[in-house]
């Protein structure tokens, strides 16, 4: 075993050269930090949700509505990922909860190390839920485990109902798919929520698909109910398991499976 990453290393060779068979995951270093983040969350009984979507799908608007709905029952904080500006963090703070802004510069995704650094700026012992708003991008964020418990992927109806077929890696990683901006459905009649759901099933993903509108407060109860059920479920696991890697038992898949 390789000491650094735990992969299988066997060496063969001649006098002048050697070949090492490694069979190790390329993102081992990221995965290790992600597991460490997950331990942090679990030891503080904090549940972490990673929100991913293309830019402008409505992640921040959804969080604003969600914070207002959860505030009475849960202590919430948000980690915001953007290339530039702290506009989103300021929008979140206006709702009275802590927000840490990560500006990635040109980086197209958050990685576990950035989340680890951001956690130092959050009072984890005084929190119940952390939302991570990933960089708006349907490609790169899907490859990096952050230590979250659940992945939520937003698909706004202006993007088209075939997005899951175009971005299978992202939508396969989703534990929940939210179809957002559904208040636009009278003018966007070519978007079929059932077709979007079928495209998710074609990825062998059983994740619930919930249509909603944050701006017009349509069907937010279904999202709220899902969140509360997942928080309860993850907390039960956090309370009963001495091994805190509840969502990381399968070394092959780096995204936590639906529990």
């Amino acid at each position: 075993m390789c000491e650094t990453c735990g992969c299988t290393v066997t060496q063969t060779g001649t006098e002048d050269a050697a070949t090492v068979e490694v069979m190790g995951r390329l993102l081992n270093a990221n995965d290790r930090v992600a597991a460490h983040n997950r331990d942090h969350f679990n030891s503080h009984r904090v549940v972490a949700f990673n929100l991913m979507s293309s830019p402008g799908a409505g992640k921040t608007a959804l969080l604003e509505a969600t914070i207002d709905a959860l505030k009475a029952d849960f202590r919430v904080a948000v980690i915001e990922g953007d290339l530039e500006t702290d506009n989103d963090a300021r929008r979140i703070r206006a709702h009275g909860v802590p927000a840490v802004q990560i500006t990635t510069g040109s980086a197209c995704h958050l990685d576990a190390r950035m989340i680890h650094d951001a956690l130092h700026d959050l009072p984890l012992s005084q929190l119940d839920i952390v939302f991570i708003e990933n960089v708006g991008n349907l490609v790169c964020p899907a490859s990096f485990d952050l230590g979250q418990h659940r992945n939520v992927v937003l698909l706004s109806m202006t993007e088209g109902d075939d997005k899951p077929a175009k971005y299978p890696v992202m939508f396969r990683a989703a534990d929940l798919v939210l179809l957002t901006k559904m208040d636009l459905s009278p003018v966007m009649d070519d978007f079929d929520p059932l077709r979007a759901e079928k495209a998710v099933r074609d990825l062998a993903n059983a994740a619930p698909v919930i249509p909603l509108s944050a701006r017009k407060a349509m069907n937010l109860e279904a999202w709220d109910a899902w969140l509360r059920a997942e928080v309860a479920r993850i907390r039960t696991l956090q309370d009963t398991t001495s091994e805190p890697h509840e969502a990381h038992h399968n070394g092959h898949h780096h995204h936590p499976a639906v529990a």
């Binding site: 006098e15 002048d16 050697a18 390329l26 081992n28 299978p168 062998a204 898949h253």
Partner: protein, 123 residues
Amino acid sequence: MHELAICQALIAQIEDIAGQRASRVRHVCLGVGPLSGVEPRLLENAYPLVCAGTIAEGSQIEIEETDVRVRCRVCGAEAIVAPNRLLCGTCGDWHTDLLAGDELLLLRIEFETREDAVEASHV
């Protein structure tokens, strides 16, 4: 373009594994599945840039691209499928398990051993 970040992780792993023993890395082989989220062509382009100034400078990168394979939970059949249609090839059901196709692995490193370098410097 997260391929650059993935290449940086690759170089760090090569240095961890071969750094003590190698004078120069010749060849690196990766296994990449279509559902890994990584584009092999972009990885190949990023590799020489990230290698510059490291033990892997000038090395060749080879990428073995794997198929997406699923096993049906309903009828048990296995099939090679498209990355966005993970359906059973026999009964068509979507309740399948992924057997292969999301891997992102460092398979093999070939390098010149350090003793060589010592000998070569004496010539």
